[in-house]
Amino acid sequence: MLAYTIRRLLQGILLIIAVSILVFSMLHLMPGDPVELITDRKVPPDVKAEMKRQFGLDLPLYQQYLRWVKNIFRGDFGISIRSKTPVASTFRHRIPVTLKLTGTALLVEFLVGVPLGLWAAYKKDSRFDRAVISTSLLFAALPSFWVAVMLIMIFGVHLKLLPLSGFSSAKHYVLPVLSIALGGIAGMLRMTKSEVLDVLNERFVFTAYAKGLDKRTVLVKHVLYNSIILILVMMFLSLPWIISGAVIIENIFVIPGMGGLLTQAIINQDMFVVQGCVLIISILTVLSNILADLLIAALDPRIRVSMSGGGN
């Protein structure tokens, strides 16, 4: 298991290096020169050249890359070309906001979607199952921005129960979290249901009943535990989306998170911000893939064996 973990981590590091090179060079393939973009036509060429030197844009590409990597290790993602503030400090303010928003949403999805899915599978073809599944189909089909606008109209404008925008109190989070989670619950629920249905038909569930266990113990210990392995892994794989955030939702509710930052930076060709965002998202993707692999290995003994190479 340890050897496997180390091997997996080394692979991850290689992957991150490769991704970082891609991220770095991709921006240089983009059309347009950032200095031209922020300066007026009237600015003399020597001033522009001076600015290029200031941002390190005159160096050969590989040196720019090494400098970029070195700085990142020191926590320096460069200076935003637009706002002239360090990118790292912008990240420091924005990442927690997004994490809080999407993390809460994910938790709500899990806590609501999994039990509903379990019950829908157990009571397959019942009225409850049909109601839940058709409602979930509806919510899966509705785009989250539409749901967000509707929620604002109902709870914010008409009922005046909840604030329309901002992120200062717990109350502010209710509508954005709901807008993200409603669709997510639908997905989580359907995945849980199909996973649980698979497990419910396994012979070992009959064995569990046959030895005299009550329904609840069978459902929790033998059905849910076995199906939750895949669900947890899927959740880990969706972690990168947490940080890249619910872009549209953040814009609608004027929440200063990562999603809004990334879109603005791309529009503004604010390349250090874009680089930083994409790099963070890729590192998270790699990490959550590794975590998902390790988690499934820890939970499922069959996989643990195949990973440690057969012996134990």
Partner: protein
């Protein structure tokens, strides 16, 4: 002998798209204490359905009629909570394929312990009992094997674990649904020996579900021959082998490979088991029966005592009184 389990007019219909598919029809038999009763038939004759209905573990899209009386109580009328108390404690069951009958994410020992923990709370006592059970079902190196996960055990070992699990609460009746089908012949012999010892040592009755006459001859005291959801013949194992009466039983016997002087091909039975949806008139075997008379297509025969302890369901008098 005292009756442990009585099936009274048990009928099971699966609800399918075109109507009610008759899987089991007016089945009557009983199992005595300490007896090994074999239910034999082709695939799809309803024998496994009978097993699952006794455990009340059918899927839920079927209609069950009749009575399953166990120790004087009709299991079909019990609520789920009472049934949970019967499962494992009074009636145990082992399944056809030991490869997937244990949960892959728990150690084999903990799954046996889980059964024992329903009666016993002390962890050390439970572990001791698990090891003892492993030894009694001849699992070598029991103290180590309790920590093994199912995938680390062979098919035969897994079936032993299943037997240990089902023995752990000393049920009066053990249902063994094709317990050796997925195993090779040497392992099969060991498992069968184990089942026999189980009956001899613990006095449990066994309902053995199989299509293998070798196993029947090896193990059973009495045999019920099932065809298309009905019992065709029921008798002591000796009777069934030496003087089968029903044309279907005879055909089954004729299709067995035997070491005799006659050479040649094995006899086969033409046609397949009918799929009966809705009402059915006549004997369910009539379309494949060599001895079918007109009456066989019009009226359902009843299972009648042909000779003390030997029941046959056939309308043709020549079959019953001939020879």
């Amino acid at each position: 002998m005292e009756k442990l389990l009585e099936l009274r007019d048990l009928s099971i219909n699966y609800l399918v798209k075109d109507g009610a598919l008759s899987a089991v029809h007016q089945l009557n038999f009983d199992i005595h204490r300490g007896e090994i009763f074999a239910l034999v038939g082709e695939s799809g004759c309803g024998k496994s359905t009978v097993a699952f209905s006794i455990m009340r573990l059918l899927q839920g899209n079927e209609v069950v009629d009749g009575e399953i009386v166990f120790q004087g109580e009709d299991l079909l009328s019990l609520d789920e909570a009472k049934m949970e108390k019967i499962r494992g404690k009074h009636i145990g069951m082992i399944f056809q394929n030991p490869l997937d009958s244990l949960n892959p994410v728990y150690t084999s020992g903990s799954q046996v312990a889980e059964a024992i923990s329903l009666d016993e709370k002390d962890k050390n006592v439970i572990l001791e009992k698990v090891i003892k059970l492993y030894e009694s079902v001849r699992i070598p190196d029991a103290t180590e094997r309790v920590k093994s996960y199912p995938h680390e055990l062979s098919g035969g070992m897994r079936q032993r674990v299943m037997i240990a699990m089902m023995l752990s609460r000393n049920p009066q009746l053990l249902i063994a649904d094709e317990p050796t089908t997925a195993l090779d012949v040497t392992v099969e012999a060991q498992i069968l020996k184990l089942l026999r010892e189980l009956r001899d040592d613990f006095g449990s009755a066994i309902l053995l579900i199989t299509h293998n006459f070798g196993i029947v001859a090896e193990l059973a005291d009495r045999v019920g021959i099932m065809y298309a959801g009905e019992l065709m013949e029921l008798a002591d194992v000796e009777e069934i082998f030496h003087c089968p009466v029903h044309p279907y039983s005879k055909a089954l016997m004729a299709s067995l490979p035997r070491i005799t002087k006659e050479q040649g091909r094995l006899k086969t039975l033409e046609g397949t088991v009918p799929r009966i949806i809705g009402e059915f008139q006549g004997c369910r075997f009539s379309n494949r029966c060599e001895h079918a008379i007109e009456e066989c297509f019009q009226r359902k025969p009843e299972l009648l005592e042909w000779r003390p302890g030997h029941f046959v369901q056939c309308l043709n008098k020549e079959v019953l009184h001939g020879d």
